[in-house]
């Protein structure tokens, strides 16, 4: 019992969760009770959908010991191509066909990353950096992308359909919980199952821990990386797709630049940048932390121009604290070993 309590306290997830609670209580007081209201919570949940799905993909790559900065460009290109194509053929059907198409394109673009990172074993950060540039070039050059103010009816309907509507009893403000939240939940559950209950997923962890051993143990390292990047491509494309549906217009470039905040959230949640360690729960909590900070500025009465200052400070302090923890742990670990031995005598 005591051991399991200790385990909980020793985990990053616990601290991130504690920070979330403290922060929410703080906002609750500062805003005169506006945080824990039905509509605000629904707003935050709805704001979590897109970054949350992106974070799941990023989390996988980071656990494998890699790095991906191309997912916003990948998502933008897949969803732009899909939307444009659907508009061109005057598609009027449901959500399924565009969704399948966007996932297919995402998989293809992911395979591009996966080929260079997996089969040629090139540095993931640099490859995805180059890929990001390539995807953007294809979108803006070859597809000559412009803002699409109208999106196909099926996508619009999906983006605006609500699971339920929450009403703030005081102000009467309402917020709709988008249907897309279910997609987020589904992605998280699928990813959890994949990472923890299949040997493919354990292979991703193994790879992040020690690539040479992974090979020796019988994991197909190259193929694992390749397939992982395809999956990440598919996940990212879904995130981009949902974003466009929810915004009800397709702006080709406004997802670009999101990568750093997503990565920051994943790392804040305890994923080791060197690979091999981290949990999906932490990843979601870390992302939620960033989303919450970004979305609570108004409640706190802080001008939105301060947003980046807060997020930046959060990254520096959050990563700084965990870095110092690692330092201290390393130092005391070797000490503890000799100490216990002396105590045993």
């Amino acid at each position: 019992m005591q051991k399991s309590i200790k385990k909980i306290f020793g985990r990053t997830e616990f601290y991130v969760f504690a920070l979330l609670v403290v922060l929410s209580v703080l906002i609750q007081f500062r805003s005169g009770g506006q945080f824990y209201t039905a509509n605000n919570l629904v707003d935050i949940a709805s704001a979590l959908i897109v970054p949350g799905i992106f974070a799941v993909g990023t989390f996988m790559v980071i656990v494998s010991g890699g790095f991906d900065v191309s997912f916003p460009a990948l998502a933008s290109l897949s969803v732009y191509a899909t939307t444009k194509f659907m508009l061109n053929i005057d598609y009027s059907g449901g959500i399924l066909l565009p969704l399948l198409m966007v996932i297919a394109i995402g998989a293809l673009l992911g395979a591009f990353n996966g080929f260079f990172v997996g089969y040629l074993n090139l540095n993931a950060m640099i490859v995805t950096l180059g890929a990001s540039s390539v995807f953007k070039g294809i979108m803006q050059g070859a597809l000559n992308s412009k803002q699409l103010a109208v999106i196909p009816e099926g996508m619009r309907a999906f983006g605006t359909s609500a699971l339920f509507t929450a009403t703030n009893s005081q102000s009467g403000l309402t917020s709709r919980m988008p249907m897309a939240f279910l997609v987020f939940v589904a992605v998280v559950i699928l990813a959890w199952f994949l990472l923890n209950r299949t040997y493919f997923g354990r292979g991703i962890y193994a790879l992040g821990g020690n690539p040479a051993s992974a090979k020796a143990a019988g994991f197909n390292v190259k193929r694992t990386k390749f397939i992982m990047f395809i999956l990440v491509g598919m996940i990212s494309a879904v995130a981009g797709f949902i974003r466009v549906c929810m915004m009800q217009q397709c702006h080709p470039t406004n997802m670009l630049g999101m990568e750093m905040n997503i990565i920051a959230g994943v790392v804040l949640g305890g994923a080791a940048i060197t690979g091999g360690a981290g949990t999906l729960l932490g990843c979601i909590l870390g992302t939620l932390l960033i989303v919450m900070v970004e979305n609570s500025m108004i409640l706190l009465g802080v001008p939105t121009t301060w947003k980046s200052v807060f997020v930046g400070a959060l990254i520096v302090i959050g990563t700084g604290v965990s870095a110092l923890q690692v330092l201290r742990a390393n130092r005391s670990a070797s000490r503890a070993r000799t100490m216990t031995k002396e105590g045993a005598k």
Partner: protein, 495 residues
């Protein structure tokens, strides 16, 4: 006589025209402990990789368990009962013991979905085979080196292994742990498993193996029963040279100690260390891996500054908080782990030699003096007899012995008065080992340098040091001139 378990005959292998193995043969009987020895680069790793299916041989025949093995993969080798335990153990530090143990079996069975129950069962069976007590849910990264090795051995046993190849398994183990490992090896032998034990440590070869094979430069030198082998012969077979060991006798000691510590303490590692080092002597410090010997060296060099006590240099109390402080006091440290602490492996031999003295290689204007640098490099390449055609080659192109000479050159170039060496010949072939010892003895004798050798290689300490200090649990438990003490006595103080 029974049929051989492994029969490799006239194996050939070349890499880009260079013959790594020239018609070598190796025969291992079922349940036999066989030692394969040879200096670095003699071809023993190449042969292991051929036996385990990592490399394809160019010529010769290979029979295992009565079957001829042609064109096979590592997986084929494993299914036939050949297991290799590499030096890094191939474990996953970020995963649990259970997962580390179960992965191979599960993957070999082409399973896709994880079952914790099945994994635990596999893991329990595995550790039971060698009676290994461990928390299956602990992360492997938190285990000690010896425990990691046990994980690797347990894992190897799960495939009905008939032959287990251990590649220098004792390198990072303490004496006690080596003993435990040997017990396990004997237990495996009882179960009829043959062990190919790769080592270049003489005492281990004698203690554990029944038969031995020695390679030199890709050729088979000798194979036979360990009973017929002695020190002299072993060294001769390994190197092709003969050495006459002479115990070092210090001459011309300084009257004053050039380095002295009084009650030096590093919390949690060592306490109240008071020692004196005289110029011209070689002082040995020995103890088990966790006796604080490594940390003592690090404290004297300022990497982990001492938390209490005093350090005196030529009678003057000094403070050493950083390596720069130590270097100002003309103290140098050849660290324990050459690969991660001593050498910039991918960088040039030249840069590795001059890096510690680099601030001295400036013109009065502060410009990097390339000519002086080149002179220094040329000087030390010659002085240390480094076997390289070009000092601009990466250090990784050299053998362990040559690499250690670079580290030594790096410090000698700074003209230290006190030189501390932590495990100076770990992973160094016998020829280089003798050369390094000769260099150290000459330095002490000729230049009046004070040298501290920290090592658990007792023959090394007895042969090269004039005095020895024995550490246990962070304290000095005994001090004696090396002429008045033997290995057995030292071990009894260490344990």
């Amino acid at each position: 006589m029974a049929q051989a378990l492994l029969k490799a005959t006239d194996i050939q292998k070349s890499f880009a025209g260079v013959q790594a193995l020239k018609n070598v043969s190796l025969e291992i009987m079922p349940g036999e402990i066989h030692c394969l020895a040879g200096e670095n680069g003699c071809g023993k790793s190449t042969l292991i990789k051929i036996i385990s299916g990592v490399y394809q041989r160019d010529g010769g025949t290979l029979e295992f368990d009565g079957k001829t093995m042609d064109k096979f993969t590592p997986i084929d080798a494993i299914t036939n009962g050949i297991q290799v335990i590499y030096q890094d153990f191939s474990v996953f530090p970020n995963l649990t013991v259970m997962e580390n143990l179960a992965f191979n079996t599960e993957l070999a069975a082409k399973r896709r979905i994880v079952s914790k129950k099945r994994m635990r069962q596999i893991a329990e069976e595995a550790v039971a085979k060698i009676n290994f007590q461990v928390d299956l849910d602990a992360l492997v990264g938190t285990l000690s080196v010896a425990e990691k090795q046990m994980v690797a051995i347990s894992r190897a046993l799960m495939f009905n292994a008939k032959l287990i190849i251990m590649d220098e398994p004792t390198t990072a183990l303490t004496k006690k742990e080596v003993q435990a490992l040997f017990d396990i090896i004997l237990k495996l032998k009882e179960q009829g498993i043959a062990i190919l034990f790769v080592s270049h440590k003489l005492d281990e070869v004698f203690e554990i193996s029944e038969r031995f094979t020695i390679f030199r430069s890709g050729e088979l030198v000798v194979t036979g029963s360990t009973k017929d082998l002695d020190d002299k012969k072993f060294t001769f077979y390994m190197t092709g040279r003969e050495f006459n060991d002479k115990t070092f006798v210090a001459e011309n000691l300084t009257e004053q100690p050039i380095l002295e510590t009084r009650n030096l303490t590093l919390d949690g590692h060592f306490q109240d260390i008071s020692l004196k080092l005289y110029g011209g002597e070689i002082l040995g410090i020995t103890g088990l891996l966790d006796s604080g010997r490594t940390e003592l060296a690090l404290s004297l060099f300022g990497i982990r500054p001492a938390t209490g006590g005093a350090i005196l240099r030529n009678g003057q109390e000094i403070s050493i908080k950083t390596p720069q402080d130590a270097m100002k006091q003309k103290i140098g440290l050849v660290p324990e782990d050459r690969l991660s602490e001593g050498l910039f492996l991918p960088q040039s031999i030249a840069d590795n030699i001059i890096i510690a003295e680099i601030e001295q290689l400036k013109t009065p204007m502060g410009i990097f003096d390339r000519k002086k640098r080149q002179e220094e490099v040329d000087h030390w390449v010659k002085e240390m007899a480094l076997a390289t055609p070009d000092a601009n080659n990466a250090s990784s192109t050299l053998s362990g012995g040559n690499q250690q000479r670079i580290v030594l050159a790096k410090w000698l170039a700074c003209h230290p008065e006190v030189l501390i060496l932590s495990g100076p010949t770990v992973g160094v072939d016998i020829g280089s080992k003798h050369d390094i010892h000769a260099i150290l003895q000459q330095l002490a004798r000729k230049t009046g340098m004070g040298i501290i050798i920290i090592s658990d290689d007792l023959p090394e300490v007895l042969e090269n040091c004039s005095r020895v200090l024995i550490l246990k649990d962070g304290r000095i438990v005994h001090e004696a001139p090396t002429q008045e003490i033997d290995e057995k006595t030292i071990v009894s103080y260490m344990m």
